[in-house]
């Protein structure tokens, strides 16, 4: 579904990604794991065109995203839950969800999709009229995921959904990601919390200093000495 070939990207003179290639197949859930500063967020920003590619190519369902404007990426079926959630703090939960279905094609199914999101996250339904800035961290993450789902994406990009959340909440968010994937949305998730994320995804890539170091199924990676020593502390 999504393919990256030799992607290089960065900010100004600082290069963060050096020839990254990866692939996400339809229906899969894939994680990109790695330490802080490895370039994980840059990777997602490059896919969403929030930053320009220095070199390489990103294709979605065989179509290159090269000449797609940042605000048109979502129309290609890619929605992103950005780092730190980035809700609109002075809009209500419902209005945040409305922003998620800003696309004309999504507006028609707004009601239906909103009910679906409320089914997934009943907490959001309770808080629907509350300002997003007043939600707890976990609720904000739910709202951010819900907002991204409003456009009925084929591919959902998640940037560090566990950041700053209590372990028990991280678990429930991860379960939710698994459920979303099971319902047919392809998921690409970027995470530092390697132990938790490998429990729910099919495959993962290890990104270090802007390069893919290794990749494999979750089971393989969990078993690999490299990962166990460096990241799981075993």
């Amino acid at each position: 579904m999504l393919a990256l070939t030799d992607v290089c990207a960065g900010y100004g003179t600082f290069q963060a990604l050096f020839g990254v290639s990866l692939e996400v197949r339809a229906g899969e859930s894939v994680a990109v794991i790695g330490p802080n500063g490895a370039g994980k967020t840059t990777l997602l920003r490059a896919i969403s065109k929030l930053i320009n590619l220095g070199a390489g190519e990103v294709t979605m369902q065989g179509r290159s995203l090269k000449h797609v404007a940042p605000h048109e990426v979502i129309a290609n079926g890619i929605a992103q839950v950005p780092e730190n959630r980035r809700l609109f703090p002075r809009l209500t939960v419902e209005e945040n969800l409305r922003m998620g279905s800003f696309l004309l094609s999504a507006r028609k199914k707004h009601q239906q999709q909103r009910d679906h999101v409320f089914d997934l996250f009943p907490r959001l339904k309770e808080r629907r009229a509350q300002l997003a800035g007043t939600l707890s961290g976990g609720e904000q993450q739910m709202c951010a995921i819900g907002r991204a789902l409003m456009s009925r994406p084929k591919l959902l990009l998640l940037d560090e959904p566990s950041a700053g959340l209590a372990p028990v909440i991280v678990q429930s968010i991860m379960q939710m990601v698994k459920k979303i994937c099971a319902e047919g949305t392809t998921v690409l998730i970027v995470e530092q919390n390697i132990r938790q994320v490998l429990k729910v995804v099919d495959r993962a890539y290890l990104l270090e200093t802007g390069r893919i170091k290794t990749s494999g199924s979750s089971a393989e990676l969990l078993a690999s000495d490299e990962i166990r020593k460096a990241y799981l502390g075993l």
């Binding site: 969403s48 605000h71 990426v73 002075r90 809009l91 209005e95 907002r147 456009s151």
Partner: protein
Amino acid sequence: MEVFDIFLLEAVLNGILLGGLLALLSLGLNLIFGVIDVVWICYAEMIMIGMYAVYALHVQQHWPLLAAMAAGIAFVALLGALMHQFVIRPVLSAEPINQLLVTGGVLFFLQAAATLAFGIEFKNLGVRLPPVSIGEMSFSLPRIIAFMVAVAGVAVTWLFLTRSYLGTAIRAISQDRAIMPLMGVNPDRIFVVTSALGGALAGLSACLLVLQYDIHPAIGLSFGPITFLICVLGGLGNMLGGLAAAFIFAQFISVGGFIFAIEWGYVIAFVFFIAVMFWRPQGLLGGK
């Protein structure tokens, strides 16, 4: 000594009527500031252009008044969009004070353009509506109409901002511009739409003012300052605050003008403004 003064009551009621109009006047400016973060010093001059547009179409071209007004609103809305494209866009990343100043250049330009086109003589529509008397009090009909239309305009704008997708995006963009593309929103387009909407509100204000006042190229200077001050008083970009400030200002002008003289009403309002700035620099209702 009389406790209840019927003329004081009249002044208070007139103040409320004026407040509605001032609320509409400041709404567009506030909207633009809230979204784009630039104060259009020339906002009152856009209203002046709108007044001339209505005058030109109705008096010179003999259009029906309502058609002339509709066209006037559309014209100023277009002017707002052009203003953003050609004046504001090039300085979006410049120093805030340069953004303020560039709109000041537009102020001089619009004033001069109006003088070139219409001269410096006072013009008016020649529409004279009779005053409305209630008991001993009398009110000008254009003021009552202006009040009602202004309140309706504010309400419609409010509904647009809270109920529609575009309106929600307009509010959202001021809270987090960088992620707007992730929602499928093109920020540039929202800016142009907001500027056009601000222009349309200026056009509507123009239609209401032209019923009450003579038109003159410098008329913008007479209500421009008060419009900015209302926005600042309410907390720039805070539309609810702006509405409240409009009614407060209007009372100062109307009641102060009734007790002393009209200029003193304005003086009191401006001094009040300065005092509030020292007391609450973020505006009456502004958050920190």
